[in-house]
């Protein structure tokens, strides 16, 4: 199964929902709108000719300078032909709500909780959406880029001198 076949399938089924496709990185990367994300994952998993039945990872990402800064990245795997696909979707910082995929993959349960824990992305329909690795009374989402790791009082390690 080649990438053109998959993108063709997705584009005919979802038309405007597919924002962009990219084949320059190590695997086919498809950016979809959050309205269709659940349907896209469902389609990839259940469609006879596709059959991506293994959810490899699900994680968040934060690009503060983007219009839709928060992202969720899914890696799906099809064992039969050993094909992998990366699905991305982006959300606004305010009220980042996205449908859960726990109904499709039991594995998504903790992965979504982890993403919520780190980025504050709310997975609608998740059976038990609460923090998993951090303490429950934490009142911020630590993986967002506005929380720098190093001590802000230090001046000897100015980021500008190190390319960031």
């Amino acid at each position: 199964m080649d990438n053109a076949f998959i993108t063709g399938k997705l584009k005919t089924r979802f038309t405007d929902g597919i924002i962009s496709t990219d084949e320059t990185s190590d695997m086919l990367t498809v950016v979809v709108s959050k309205e269709v994300i659940h349907d896209v994952i469902f389609f990839l998993k259940e469609n006879q000719s596709l059959g991506f039945t293994f959810l490899t990872t699900l994680c968040g990402i934060h690009y503060p300078e983007q219009k839709l800064p928060l992202g969720v990245v899914y890696h799906l795997h099809r064992f039969e032909g050993n094909e992998k696909i990366r699905i991305k979707t982006f959300l606004p910082l305010k009220n980042p709500v996205i449908p859960t995929v726990t109904d499709l993959f039991s594995a998504a349960d903790w992965m979504e909780r982890e993403t919520y824990d780190f980025y504050g992305i709310i997975f609608e329909g998740h059976p038990n959406l609460k923090r998993i690795l951090n303490v429950e009374y934490m009142d911020y989402f630590p993986m967002r880029k506005e929380y720098p790791l190093e001590d802000q009082t230090r001046h000897d390690k100015d980021d500008r001198f190190f390319g960031r």
């Binding site: 990185s25 190590d26 695997m27 990367t29 039945t53 293994f54 959810l55 490899t56 990872t57 994680c59 990402i61 934060h62 990245v73 890696h75 064992f79 050993n82 992998k84 990366r86 993959f105 039991s106 594995a107 349960d109 903790w110 992965m111 982890e114 780190f118 998993i132 690795l133 951090n134 303490v135 630590p142 993986m143 720098p148 790791l149 190093e150 190190f162 390319g163 960031r164």
Partner: protein
């Protein structure tokens, strides 16, 4: 159903039978488990966040502490991810050295897990036998890099030093010695009536559920799915070697035990093959931006001094891009999703930790069983707290 009839039992966070710090709040009906709620995160160290502030070469100290029973696999997996991003091709010698180390690590990982299954079912003897052998592997690490548990082994582009004749001798000695001990261990447990009664049909999971739960590694193969990253997406020249991937049928504790046991034999074969056919050559490839130059050169060569300074100060950026690379770690597909924006540190690094993903299936696997079986199921899944909590 009256809730008042049930008792609540806290298994953990620190309990000798959980082999790590995680809690299970069990709802029990006498000896039967009705349900369990898992609490994890007790040793969460925010590795993904820390990695966003670390130059690429410093991330190995974090990956060391993921699955600390087999840290070389994690380290080498990370180094191969960076090499994939940089487009660096390693030589066969480096690949074979990596295979030897990764398979040694897999052996220690499986030895710990299987001997602990023995302990939890009441057979302490095998544990003592195998831990002595694990010690030999740690001596090999020590000889090679000076460290035992958190080895920080390997570098982006190869190894910090070559295998010395002493190391090669030690590895040969280990592969000569282990089969005898392994046979003794198998004679103790494999066809032992008590052990079989305690493990067969304990904590089973079907292949379909296992895939849905994102299982990988020995746990998935015990359920009958022949998915092994070493075979499906060969890395580090694994495709040069001939080895068998054992699969189980029931996905129960006994099958997981047997799959791991057979994998140890296969790993031994791989190590012997790689060592016998180890090509001549250098132990690193030319990646001056990431591989520290030899110390002698730093003192009297301009070029080497500059690279040394730039690497140590973490001034060198990697090309922008994103990669996903996975290796077959001791307990499954260990994946690294790396996003680089061209800076000196990863923009985002996500670890796909196999036991974080499959440990969530525990309630389904132990529901309806008895407490002592739950302990065995948990130890046969090989949940390593460091990897679970990252």
């Amino acid at each position: 159903m009256n809730d008042a009839l049930y008792t609540t039992l806290n298994l953990g966070p620190t309990h000798p039978a959980t082999h790590g710090i995680f809690q299970n709040v069990l709802t029990m009906d006498g000896e039967r488990i009705i349900d369990t709620e898992q609490t994890i995160g007790y040793i969460h160290r925010a590795f993904e966040k820390i990695a966003e502030r670390r130059p690429y070469y410093q991330v190995t100290t974090l990956t060391d502490r993921l699955n600390y029973c087999s840290s070389p696999i994690n380290n080498i997996g990370w180094q191969m991810t960076v090499e994939k991003l940089l487009g660096v091709k390693t030589t066969h010698r480096i690949d074979y050295m990596r295979i030897i180390l990764m398979e040694l690590a897999r052996i220690t990982d499986h030895l710990v897990c299987n001997s602990v299954i023995g302990v939890d079912s009441g057979a302490l003897t095998g544990f003592v036998y195998l831990f002595q052998e694990r010690e030999r592997v740690y001596e090999i690490y020590e000889q090679l890099c000076g460290a035992r548990l958190t080895t920080n082994i390997g570098r982006i582009g190869g190894f910090e030093r070559d295998f010395s004749p002493e190391v090669i001798k030690m590895i040969y000695a280990f592969t000569d010695r282990l089969p005898k001990i392994l046979h003794q261990f198998e004679q103790l447990l494999m066809r032992n009536r008590i052990f079989m009664d305690r493990t067969i049909n304990v904590g089973p999971i079907s292949a379909e559920r296992a895939i849905n739960y994102g299982f990988s590694g020995p746990n998935l193969r015990a359920a009958g799915v022949d998915y092994d990253v070493r075979v499906t997406s060969p890395y580090s020249s694994y495709d040069d070697f001939d080895f068998t991937i054992p699969v189980g049928t029931n996905g129960d504790t006994y099958d997981r035990f047997c799959v791991r046991q057979e994998e140890v034999w296969q790993s031994l074969k791989l190590i012997r093959n790689a060592l016998d056919n180890l090509p001549e050559g250098k132990h690193y490839v030319d990646v001056p931006e990431f591989y520290l130059p030899p110390k002698e050169e730093v003192y009297d060569k301009m070029e080497a001094l500059i690279w040394h300074f730039k690497i140590v100060m973490g001034e060198i950026g990697a090309p922008a891009g994103e990669v996903y690379h996975s290796v077959e770690a001791g307990n499954g597909e260990l994946g690294f999703y790396l996003v680089s924006d061209g800076g000196r540190t990863p923009y985002r690094l996500h670890f796909r930790r196999p036991c974080f993903i499959y440990y969530q299936a525990l309630p389904e696997m132990i529901r309806g069983g008895v407490l002592s079986d739950a302990i065995l199921t948990m130890s046969s899944m090989n949940v390593i707290a460091g990897e679970l909590d990252a």
